[in-house]
Amino acid sequence: MRLVVVLAVLMGVSGIPDVTISPPTASADTSAHPNSIPETADESEQIEAQTEEGAEEDVMATGELNPNHYPARRAAQVVQHYLNTRYGSPFRLIGVQTVHSGNAEDVTDSRRKYQLELSVNDIISNTTQTCSAELSFTKGKGQQPPEVKASCEELLKIDIKAQEEALYQKYKTSQTLMSAQYLPDSHGHIKPDMEPFWHLGILASSFIMLNESTENTLYNVAQVANITQLTTEEDHLEFDCHTLLHEMVSQEIIHWKMLFTWSPAEGVKVLQMKRLPHRHEREKSPKTN
């Protein structure tokens, strides 16, 4: 597993992401990926052969999507990550609530396009909004991050400016730099005044999760292992952050380190991101919370 050291400057709330990241490896070890070439097993040869009456989906869902099934769910998750990179804040975190309908099609040999009607909500204020989204995945060699188009401006209507300013001022003027570990802890507990930093860790991770997503992945932030404020002269707060991502299909926990900034005006900007090797590749196994 190679370390992927990446220097990238990503726009925060406004502007189209100008991404200069080399395509990351999709998983640690290609032979470990669940969708790799099957070893011979009698039953598994039946995979494509058997069909029964009634609707059946292809391995790559095409046409109208069943909202109960994973292709719609995975695409919606990508939209969630995209929305958090655009609209997210320590006081606004977006989650997919439900997919109403969707459609997928092959555009070219290597590109597939999705259209979704979905409801998202701001987890903190619990307001819901329906949105439309369009996504485009590339497949095969030279995998690119997915492209997403979605607008959910209703989410911006909840006013969080005062809270953002208060947080910014508090940590800009504080004599000590904040640092927190294990958000949430093993028991799912998190101190209320640490929640904004948990959210910031999730937002910064959303840039990574967006870039890493394919039709064969579904990412969530498992935990913010560490978030530490760094000194900076500029008009933002700066953080070093170590998060654990959970990828549902492979069930792997993937460690990432990030350097990012945040201010009410600029939102989150990720300056550097680096994937950390798996535990079995490191010399010492790290302790738990």
Binding site: A32, P38, S44, E52, N68, V96, H246, Q251, E252, I253
Partner: protein
């Protein structure tokens, strides 16, 4: 310094620290102590020059004592400004500490709103059996790799080899809300038997088997080492990586896509099907009992699923299981509005080969289901303990729907 709780109030009492700089100071302080009317209480004795002396002074004597010390130029500082405040805080801390971690003497005192460690769960199981010996017994179906007992609670009103329902939680150790829910289910069964007509009807004809910690080695490891551990803890020869995914180790499409041949992978299937004692014990148990419904509980994603995981084709009983799943998730949602999706494993979540319910279905156990409990990713595996009981309560409604259907549709 802990003072026992006296009826006496220490309101406005202060503790002063004196620093004698000369021998003269030492005798002056002794004199002070001898003035009984000052009601002084020495906390730290007079020793020698430079060694601090701590005295407790009642509020109404503070003025006099401080004047005395100033006149003789004896340096002092205030260690405790108001002793009673400190005592009250200490008392509160002790009360909440003991409330947080009691040793429950019975299952009525067991805190279901907390995540428990392995020994607490084993104790709970033994207590429950001791409290309800006519309904509950414990069967040790095998040993884990690290030689821990694999305990199954049997809920039965009698009979021999009755048709039965199997429920397992915690096969993947990091999915803590499942073991926690299993504990709650166990208590729920003994509480509702004889009170809830539906459950009573089920237990009058069927047995319920509940394995709460299906992967005890993994569970122990999530407490001591790595909260995110999923697999068993068996070493893999020739590899630095430990553990097999117990839900890829069953004899159903074993080795197919949806599992990995790499020991370092979270979905490593193991060297051969049923290689893990945690799996093999259940296999043997199922083969020697009359199981009619088999339910494996995981987290997270909020899904209720039925076979297959390893291939895309539909099971023979697709329509019945799909309709029952729909009813079960509707009943689940009726409590708190929690929304679940449903479908076959391969459609609802991903392709997975060597999974438990694919095998049980192939053995003729028609009502084979698997749950993924709360949430949908915000907390994920680290679900707050405050959500344990609501999760267990709503899941129980779905379980009751499945068990009730199993009872009413014998095969």
């Amino acid at each position: 310094q802990f003072l026992s709780k006296l009826r006496f109030s220490f309101c406005r009492h202060q503790v002063l620290r004196l620093v004698p700089k000369t021998d003269g100071h030492l005798s002056l302080i002794r004199d002070l102590h001898n003035m009984i009317e000052l009601e002084l209480d020495i906390w730290r004795e007079v020793r020698d020059v430079g060694s601090p002396v701590d005295i407790r002074v009642p509020g109404h004597k503070l003025k006099i004592v401080k004047r005395y010390l100033k006149i003789y130029d004896i340096q002092f500082s205030t260690m405790i400004k108001d002793l009673q405040v400190l005592l009250d805080e200490e008392q509160k801390a002790m009360e909440s500490a003991s409330a947080r971690v009691p040793e429950p003497r019975n299952t009525d005192n067991f805190d279901f709103f907390r995540y428990h460690n392995l020994s607490e769960i084993y104790s709970f199981q033994d207590m429950l059996v001791a409290e309800k010996p006519n309904l509950v017994s414990k069967i040790v179906i095998g040993q884990s790799y690290e030689d821990r007992p694999l305990n199954v609670l049997k809920f039965s009103t009698g009979g021999t080899n009755r048709p039965a329902i199997w429920i397992d939680t915690g096969i993947h150790s990091r999915e803590w809300v499942t073991q926690a829910s299993g504990l709650w289910f166990a208590k729920k069964i003994v509480t509702d038997f004889g009170r809830d007509p539906k459950l009573t009807a089920i237990l009058n004809q069927m047995d319920i088997f509940l394995e709460i910690v299906t992967n005890p080695d993994g569970y122990f490891f999530t407490h001591t080492n790595s909260r995110m551990w999923r697999k068993t803890r068996k070493p893999n020869p020739g590899s630095r990586c430990v553990g097999v995914d117990p839900n890829r180790n069953w004899k159903a499409g074993f080795g197919g896509p949806g599992s990995s041949g790499n020991p370092c992978s979270q979905t490593y299937r193991g060297p051969r099907a049923e290689s893990e004692s945690e799996v093999n014990s259940i296999v043997e148990f199922v083969k020697s009992h009359n199981i009619k419904a088999f339910i494996s509980i995981h987290s997270y994603s909020q899904l209720l699923m039925f076979p297959y995981g390893y291939i895309r084709s539909r099971i023979k009983d697709y329509t019945e299981l799909n309709n029952l799943a729909q009813k079960a998730v509707t009943d689940l949602a009726s409590l708190y509005g929690t929304s679940y999706k449903f479908g076959s494993i391969i459609n609802a979540i991903y392709q997975a080969s060597g999974g438990s319910i694919d095998w049980t279905y192939s053995q003729g156990i028609k009502y084979s289901y698997t749950f993924e409990l709360r949430d949908t990713g915000h907390y994920g595996f680290l679900l707050p303990a405050t959500q344990i009981i609501p999760t267990a309560q709503e899941t129980w409604l779905a379980l009751m729907t499945i068990m009730d259907h199993t009872l009413k549709n014998p095969y």
